[in-house]
Amino acid sequence: MDRLKKHLQDHLPEMDVELPQSDLWQGIQQRIAPAQPSKGMLLPMKMMRWVAAASVLTVVGLASFLLTQKRDGASVVQMNLPVEQLPLTKEVVPQKTNETLVVVTPKTETPKPTKKVLPQPNKQKLMQNFVANQPKKKTSIKVVDSAQILRTNLANVEWKKVSNDFELILVAQKQRINRTPLLVEDPSYFDSFKLALQQLENDEKKLKKEMANGTEMNDQMLDQLIQINQQKLNLLKQLQAEINRMNERNKLKPKSENNTTSFVNI
């Protein structure tokens, strides 16, 4: 080992001569992620989890019930029609007349007696009328996974909400930075912030594109979106703090003729 290296390593603690600013800890504290729950918080957190689980179950149950109801209403008619007579969409609703009763009767060889049994000739005639009124187009049956639709819709609502909420705050912060006059320092000094922000925005665009392309939304993607936006916000806050710090320093310096006021355009 060379002697200078050994000398400095032997006296390393003596080289730590400068102290950080006293308010630096507050900045660190603000940026530390929320602490893990302490014992005192366990009960409310457990309760919160149960409440959240119950809410999710209620929403899913309600949605399934509504979707099943809707599907059943349409399927009563579909079951009794020949394949070529199947309706195009689910919107086909049975008519509220006596004729409907004839149509919904199960199509078996020995029909069960109903309360309103119509004479046989009438029944045949009505059936013919109904069949004649149906569209002649042949259709294929589209199988729709209602749970999948529900899941995707909920996820989309969630990420759009996150994105919009953050956007409002980010725009406000950007405006504040753009309004802050910059003393002496050249705005290009802050280019690294702009570059970092641009990178984050590119990442966000890429993620949103993936979501828009129909990739199934999951917790990880939502977390990524939140994280990117939080990083953007932190970056803008740091930029604001840096500008303020620079301005404060320049206020202390004696004024010279070269002092100019400019703005960071972000």
Binding site: H7, P20, I32, S38
Partner: protein, 182 residues
């Protein structure tokens, strides 16, 4: 020593559980040393403060991953040094780093023996980008030239030449001060 380690372990455990007081205690204990590392690596106060903040935030957010609490100091230092390397790597322009620095033969004298360590600290801060980081990593963080080359994305010979350049500049800066002030 064991008692001190036990105290540190207890504080780190509490900090890992999110105890703000314990986290502050760790900051008070290690903040100064880490800040001086950041200062010597970055060369300016504004960057050093940012790097110190980033290092502590990263450490506290991942403290649950630290398996041996008594090793907190070394673990934190690695995080801080890595943050500094990442930061410096963006600023170093490799084209400007000359591989052919003339070496000065210093074998005949230990010129640093009578120079205050605080003066050396301030002189290191004033070294130009590139050689400052290499000097810090090689001398104070005990990296090999191969490790420095990999970390900063330069060749081993560049790392070596920048180290000698740093020594030469330090000598040129500090020796006149010594002669002037005795």
């Amino acid at each position: 020593l064991t008692a001190t380690q036990n105290i540190l372990t207890a504080v780190v455990d509490r900090a890992a559980k999110g105890d703000a007081n314990a986290q502050e205690q760790l900051y008070r204990q290690f903040g100064k040393a880490m800040y001086n590392i950041c200062l010597r690596m970055s060369g300016n106060t504004a960057d050093a403060e940012d790097l110190l903040q980033d290092g502590f935030v990263q450490a506290f957010n991942h403290l649950h991953q630290l398996k041996m609490a008594e090793q907190f100091g070394g673990w934190l230092k690695r995080i801080v040094v890595n943050s500094c390397i990442k930061h410096c790597k963006q600023r170093i322009r490799l084209n400007n780093l000359d591989e052919n620095v003339e070496r000065v033969d210093e074998n005949d004298e230990d010129w640093w023996q009578h120079i205050g360590l605080d003066q050396i600290h301030f002189a290191i801060k004033q070294l130009p980008n590139g050689c400052r980081e290499v000097f810090n990593l090689f001398v104070l963080e005990d990296y090999s030239h191969l490790q420095i080359a990999e970390a900063l994305g330069m060749s081993v010979s560049t790392s070596k030449s920048q180290y000698h350049r740093a020594r030469m500049l330090l000598r040129a800066q500090l020796l006149p001060q010594l002669k002037e002030h005795g």
